[in-house]
């Protein structure tokens, strides 16, 4: 139908346009900050401060206390039915008293909608913007899982918290389905006032493990 002919036409127009107004190619100056590193305590302070600005919950703990922190976050929001990706460390839910559903292809979006909360790990994070990056690895699960339930408990290791945006994005594997999460879902559509909680999880709780 419109396939090859439209393709050839558009590419032909582009070549014509560039011939009519030849480009003056210039190198891209990448003089902005990259490769930054910050000591642990500074990254921790920066990251948790940014998360607080987004009104995300933060629980700082050691790796050994993960299960306690996760249970605390879930209990604080009255979550009884919780979804987890198949690759999540089961030990993280050991202190949680409610029902745990391990996600699989058989779980429909409507079933996810029936969950109170979801617990996932994360691929990386960015301190300067308070962003957590998910890449669909087995401990993070498919994208629908961390989207549909109303409470998202995110477990982040401090060693994966990069200083800035370039440093955090460099930790990603390109091509994976990736979601950058900066606080709970929000809108500024009504008089530019930021309101937390529209379609994504209205509650974001970050469990930050200082020795992981």
């Amino acid at each position: 139908m419109s396939g090859p002919t439209a393709r050839e036409a558009v590419l032909g127009r582009i070549r014509d346009a560039l011939a009519l107004a030849p480009p003056g190619r210039q190198p891209v100056p990448r003089a902005y900050r990259t490769g930054r590193t910050l000591p642990d305590d500074e990254r921790l302070a920066l990251f948790t401060g940014r998360l607080a600005d987004y009104r995300a919950g933060v629980r700082v703990c050691t790796a050994a206390a993960t299960a306690e922190a996760v249970a605390g976050a879930l209990d604080a929001h009255g979550a009884r039915r919780v979804g987890v990706p198949p690759g999540l460390d089961p030990a993280w839910l050991e202190r949680f008293g409610g029902e745990v559903l391990v996600d699989s292809a058989a779980v429909s979006p409507r079933m996810l909608d029936g969950l109170d909360a979801v617990v996932t790990a994360s691929a990386a994070a960015c301190a300067e913007t308070g962003t957590v990056l998910l890449d669909g690895s087995p401990d993070q699960g498919r994208r629908a899982l961390s989207l549909v339930p109303d409470v998202h408990v995110l477990v982040v290791g401090l060693s994966t918290v990069a200083a800035g945006v370039p440093e955090a994005l460099a930790l990603l594997v390109p091509g994976r389905p990736t979601t950058l999460v900066s606080g709970p879902s929000a809108t500024s559509d009504i008089e530019l006032e930021r309101v937390e909680g529209v379609h994504g999880p209205r509650v974001l709780e970050v469990v930050l493990r200082t020795d992981a």
Binding site: M1, S2, G3, A6, R7, A9, V10, L11, R13, I14, R15, D16, A17, L18, A19, L20, A21, P23, V28, P29, A31, Y32, T34, D53, R110, C126, E128, T129, G136, R142, R143, A144, L147, V148, V165, P166, L169, A170, P174, G175, R176, P177, T178, T179, V181, S182, S185, A186, T187, S188, D189, I190, E191, L192, V195, E196, V198, H199, G200, P201
Partner: protein
């Protein structure tokens, strides 16, 4: 109509390009054809602006909203010590990507296809609409959920789908408000920026089936109503249509930047995902996101990062839509590309900062511009994409005059698009088209006058003289030349209704009004802020050299 060809003449000035002069020589690419989509309004800017100026609720809503967002943007951009260097990189990357389109688009296509996606090409709006319709039909669905997208607004996709019996549900809150009220978007980021909470309450209460009649006007309550309303759609509608903020040639990855999670819902839950993306949205490397994901959120909503950014590459088995399409849209972009200056407008990342700082936009709102793209970027992009003389009385030819040329937009633009230079150039072209008519003379003068308030007093005298002379040659003073009338009527001043621009221009009130508007722009530029924000001069955002 065919006019003699001159380099770069096709974009911005004419309708259809001249014939190819010789075989093998490049032909100016065509503008977006009129008739389909929305790259021009029905009313010249002046008349539309005058109507908007009479709406006090609109003006109050806009003043409050743009003031808030300006302050937030400044705080967010000042926080980064390398902001100017990020802008340099962003501008250069966009320019590089445009120069390399012949190689980057096939690269993007190959990478996206290699991961199980399908790529389609569309010369114009009608072709893109037909492709999307066919793809939706093939799924058997009569409904689609939509992520806010400028490209699909530009091509009039929702209206086209409706005519084909397919219902499109807008899922962005502001788009939903606009859709439920039968309105049009007035801002590229916050389409319902012209509505206040009380108005929104009424729209949601009346427009959402089973809405609580006691729905309050608290934004959180309004957002919750939208959440409840759309949840069922997300869970059941099998097809989504999105735009894309960036398409990465290197990896075939598409990127959507959003806030509410409606984007994630659409990009994740349906079986089929159709993305319509302008060809100018391609960037070379995955790494380039490190620049744009800093520039865009801080310039757009003044946040350090927007709540959600989604990246997907073709199909991921077991995760998200299993059938993904990408429609690459020209629709006049190649016409803009053929223009050495206009090409720069294709670098726009749709942050809306130029709208929010523009003293003209703040007064008249987005509807007055007619096109999907309002504000300073719209005033250049609409003519570059669709032309200024495609119809007998093309409203697009008035758009380059919808500015005081104060330069605030250039200062704010994260990718340093030289909007004032483009506005001046489009005015020049328009006056060339118009020849030595009184309209042309008067407008040429107006262009110069508005550029520098310092020159204003002297220039206005000359302008009045020129206008009088022109009128004398004609033997009488006829009705107002529309673009000039538009500019004067867009001011907040008592303007005699007819035939009076020239005398008004020379009068003390006219002089005062124009001087005030231009000074305000100048002040805003110097302080990098508008009235009400009260922010001090920006330490690192220096104004560019004098143009």
């Amino acid at each position: 109509m065919t006019r003699p060809s001159r380099p770069g003449a096709a974009a911005g000035s004419g309708d259809d390009p001249p014939e190819r002069p010789l075989p093998g020589t490049p032909a100016p690419p065509p503008h977006a054809p009129p008739g389909t989509g929305r790259l021009r309004g029905d009313t010249p800017f002046p008349r539309a602006a005058r109507a908007a100026l009479g709406d006090h609720t609109l003006r109050d809503n806009l003043r409050r909203a743009t003031g808030t967002i300006r302050a937030r943007r400044l705080a967010a951009t000042r926080e980064l010590p390398d902001w100017e260097r990020l802008r340099d990189a962003g501008a250069a990357l966009k320019s590089e990507a445009l120069d390399r389109l012949p190689e980057l688009l096939p690269q993007l296509e190959a990478a996206f296809t290699g991961r199980g996606g399908t790529v389609h090409w569309a010369r114009d709006a009608a072709e893109a609409n037909a492709i999307v319709t066919r793809l939706v039909r093939e799924t058997g669905s009569e409904e689609v959920v939509k992520v806010k997208s400028m490209a699909t607004q530009e091509i009039g996709l929702n209206e086209h789908l409706a005519r084909q019996g397919i219902t499109a549900y807008e899922t962005d809150l502001a788009e939903l408000i606009v859709q439920l009220s039968g309105d049009r978007p007035s801002h590229i980021l916050v389409p319902a920026i012209h509505r206040n909470r009380e108005e929104i309450r009424g729209i949601l209460r009346d427009g959402i089936p089973d809405a609580d009649p006691r729905l309050g006007s608290d934004p959180a309550e309004l957002a919750a109503a939208a959440r409840a309303h759309l949840r069922e759609r997300f869970l059941t509608v099998p097809v989504a249509v999105s735009g894309a903020n960036f398409g990465i040639a290197e990896t075939g990855t598409l990127c959507v930047v959003e806030s509410e999670g409606n984007g994630r819902m659409c990009l994740t839950l349906p079986r089929t995902l159709i993305t319509v993306m302008g060809i100018e949205k391609v960037v070379p490397l995955h790494r380039d996101l490190e620049v744009f994901l800093q520039l865009l959120p801080r310039s757009a909503t003044g946040e350090r990062m927007n709540p959600y950014t989604s990246l997907w590459t073709g199909v991921t088995p077991g995760d998200g839509p299993q059938e993904v399409h990408l429609v690459l849209l020209d629709n006049g972009r190649t016409a803009a590309l053929a223009d050495p200056l206009g090409r720069g407008a294709l670098g726009c990342i749709r942050c809306s900062a130029c709208l929010n700082v523009c003293p003209v936009y703040e007064r008249v709102g987005g509807h007055a511009y007619g096109s999907t793209y309002p504000g300073p970027i719209g005033a250049v992009l609409s003519p570059y994409l669709a032309g200024m003389h495609a119809t007998g009385d093309d409203p697009n030819r008035t758009l380059p005059y919808a500015s005081t040329l104060c330069g605030a937009c250039l200062d704010a633009c994260p990718v340093r698009i030289d909007l004032p230079a483009m506005l001046v150039d489009l005015r020049r072209r328009h006056t060339e088209e118009a020849g030595r008519t009184p309209e042309a003379l008067a407008m040429r003068t107006a262009g110069a006058v508005m550029r520098r308030p310092r020159l204003y007093t002297a220039a206005q005298r000359t302008a009045a003289r020129l206008a009088r002379a022109a009128a004398r040659r004609e033997g009488r003073i006829t009705r107002l030349p529309p673009p000039l009338a538009g500019w004067t009527e867009a001011r907040d001043a008592p303007v005699p209704a007819r035939d009076a621009f020239r005398s008004w221009f020379a009068s003390p009130e006219g002089a005062a009004a124009m001087r005030a508007a231009a000074r305000e722009g100048e002040r805003r530029r110097a302080a990098h802020e508008g009235p009400g924000g009260g922010a001090p001069a920006d330490g690192h955002d220096r104004r560019e050299e004098e143009r």
